[in-house]
Structure formats: C-alpha cells, structure tokens
Symmetry: C2
Subunit: 258 residues, 2 copies
Amino acid sequence: MTNLEDLRANGWQLTQAISPDELEAVLRAIGAQRYHNNHPFHERMRSGALSKGAMQAWALNRYLYQSRIPMKDAALMARMVDTDLRREWRHRIEDHDGVEGDDGGIERWLKLAEGLGLDRDYVIAESGALPATHFAVDAYIRYVSDQSLLAAIASSLTELFAPTIIADRVSNVLANYDYVSKNSLAYFDKRMTQAPRDSGFALQYCRDNAVECRDQQEVIDALLFKTGMLWAMLDALDYCYVSDVGAPPPGCFVPDPA
Amino acid sequence: MTNLEDLRANGWQLTQAISPDELEAVLRAIGAQRYHNNHPFHERMRSGALSKGAMQAWALNRYLYQSRIPMKDAALMARMVDTDLRREWRHRIEDHDGVEGDDGGIERWLKLAEGLGLDRDYVIAESGALPATHFAVDAYIRYVSDQSLLAAIASSLTELFAPTIIADRVSNVLANYDYVSKNSLAYFDKRMTQAPRDSGFALQYCRDNAVECRDQQEVIDALLFKTGMLWAMLDALDYCYVSDVGAPPPGCFVPDPA
C-alpha cells in the first residue's frame, strides 16, 4: 500500500502504478490538503469576518468562474468521440445553463449576487472582476482543451469535495451575515445533489482509465492543477479585498465605504 | 442592389456593406453555386449510377462527418459566453447524440450504414475512412474553434440548402437502389425538420450581427469554406470509389467485388 505521507512529502509524484482504491485515496488526500475550504478566505467567510464588500467581491468574481463552467464542459465535449460519454457529460451544461422549468446554476448565482446587493448587469458585464480571476478561469478552459481527455475529466474531481464546503459554508454564512437569506443561497442546495453525481462519474472514469503509472500521474496532476486554480482565485480576493497591503486594481470592483 | 453576377465573378468579395436581405441573397446564391448537390457524385447517386461499394464508401465516410458534428457544436458552445445562445445551440447536440426516447442522428446514420451492408463496429472504428475525410472534418472543428464566433456560426449555414438535397436524394435513392429501404433512410426524415430550424436561427444571427462589410465578408467566407469542405469529401469519394484513375488508399475500405 502506498504511503500517503511519503507521497505528500514528495509532491504527489508516483514512482509506480497503484491500485484504483489507492488512487482514490491519493485523490482524497490531495483534496484534504489543497481544496479551497482550507484557504484563509474561506475560514474568514464562514466565521463571519468578511466585510459586505468582500462578500460582494467574492460573488462577483466567482460569477466569472460559474459563467465559464458550461464553456469548459463544452470544450471537453468537443473532444469526446464517444456519444455515450457526451450524453453523460451534457447534463453538466444543462445544470448550469438550465432546462425547461429550471433556470440553471448561472441564474441562481446571479440571484446570490443580487441578494448581496450587486447590480445584475454589472456582474454579467464582468468588467469589475479581477484580472487574476480571468486568468485563472481562462487557464481552466485551456487546460481541458489542451491536456489529455483523461486529465481534462480528472480536473473536475474537485467536485468530490464540494458537498463538505457547501454544507459548512451555507450554515455558517446564514448564521453570521444577517443580510444573506436562505433563498439567495439556492445555488448551493442544487449543487449538493449535482456535485456528488458528477464527481462519482468522473471518479469512476479515472479509476477505470488510469491504470498505468503515467495515466495515474496525469489524474493526480489534473487535481493539483484544479485545486491550485481555485486557491489562486481566493488568494487574489484575499489580497485585494481583505488584507491591509492589497487593494482592487484600477477598474475593478470597489465596494461602497462601510 | 448588389449585382450577384458581378459578385460571383469576383469570387464573392464584397467591396462595401450590403443590407441583410442582400446578404441573404448572396448566401443563397453561393449555395446554388457551390453546395454539394451540384457535385457529380451526388448526381451519380440520385440517378442510380453508383455501385453498392461506392454507396457503402459514402455512408462509411459520411459517418465520420456525422460523428464529429456534436464535437463541432460543443467546440462552438465552448466559445459562447451568452447562456441563451448556448441553450439555443445545445439542441443541435441533442439532435445528434440523442435524448431520452430518441437515439439521435448518429445512431440513425449507423442504421443507414448497416442497411447498406456495412458492419457497425467497422464503421464506428473509423479505420476504413479516407484520410481526406479525416482532414476535412478535422478542419471543420478547427474552423469553429479558431475563427470568429460569427464565422463559426455562419459555417453552419449549409443547412439552408439541406432540405432540397435530402428530398431529392431520398426519393431517387429509393427508386434506383432496390437494396435501400425507406426505414434505413430515417436519418434524413428527421433532418427535414431539424435543418430548417437550425439554419433559420443561424441565418437570423448572421443578418443581425453582420452589419459591417468586414463581418459580412466573414459570413460569406465561412459559407465558402464549408461548401468547399463538403465538396472535397465528395471529390475524394468520387476519385477513390468511382473513377477509373483512383483507388482506395492502403488501409481504407475496399468494397467486396461486385
């Protein structure tokens, strides 16, 4: 059995092929180490320490990420020759863009942003988002276009860890910010069922298709890339909207004075 | 009013912006000149002159095109920031990949290939398709990824001319090839309603969004690219499976001796 401590110390670099169960254990250990629920910005959010301006900056920048998810999934589908795989993946786009009778996750995120007092059109215009956010989400779309299909699919595996952060975030945000309503957090309710279904499929795909050491390393590297990308988004927010040393770059969203 | 004859003689190069109605007239004139219903291979098909082997080669190679259409549409959706535009475009993928209760166009094309006596798995494996077909369909996917979104959308405008060729092809093929059944041509029945809906949307999009001369030229060039790409596929088939001078390249589908 692979020693997870050794692997972690080694920057998650495999030296030989491991079993599917071991691979899953490695992926979950990476999540425990690097998923953005460990970021100080998330800790500040859940404990009630963020200003309303910082909460708005988070919703505004995260909108950019949300809005690019269906484009990312379309870029992935553009590489899938297998019809059944495309049909399975298609519901991710439906979840975000909506279907008959459901406006979809992007619309729910806009409701969240509006609930925090942001102007809907300003959010959609994207002009107030940080350049760092643009670079991060653009890198994600490029990643799923340029890397192997296996790596592209594996980069979605952060969804494995989403339910934990969501449950924690929703309860604490509702308890600690009196201007946030349960209704405006409807986005997260849906993700509690969507994320496990999606990540379950992607995990099984990686277990089935990453058998050689090289392929397993691709899966691991994809998760490292993705956790790093989510982390970088919170770094930028924390620097520009929370810390005393940073400030919003010219042209980016500036909160109203408290 | 633009003189269509002059434009045609000039290789469809605009010298100034034209009205939406004029643009549509130009697009339809390009279709009349260059759509692949004008290709000798199509004329041979409709008149009953093709061997069964040539019909099989057509179905086999065209499968590659069919199988790449949802990938092409996903590549296009990967570039659409607008949720409503993605939702509109999404049904093209559903038409080909299928939805609950409908197997989709790719499956119907496989039925057509099987109806012509081809082995389903051999068709799906793509190993028998001509390199020229691979190059053409790959160029199409690259086109919608690399050109402007307007040009990418405009490249779908060949659907404007599909109903004519389909109606003509179905009736004549049924009349002239006794081994082809109405049932095996079910693919085309669906396209008779799907193509006009899709091309209607794309045409309106181009009318609305191509106002400057430069944008209108992009739309025109996209249709020239696409008609050229469809034409090239039939050139390759005609050379390798019909003409006396050509033959299937090594490794490609070889019909059974008649």
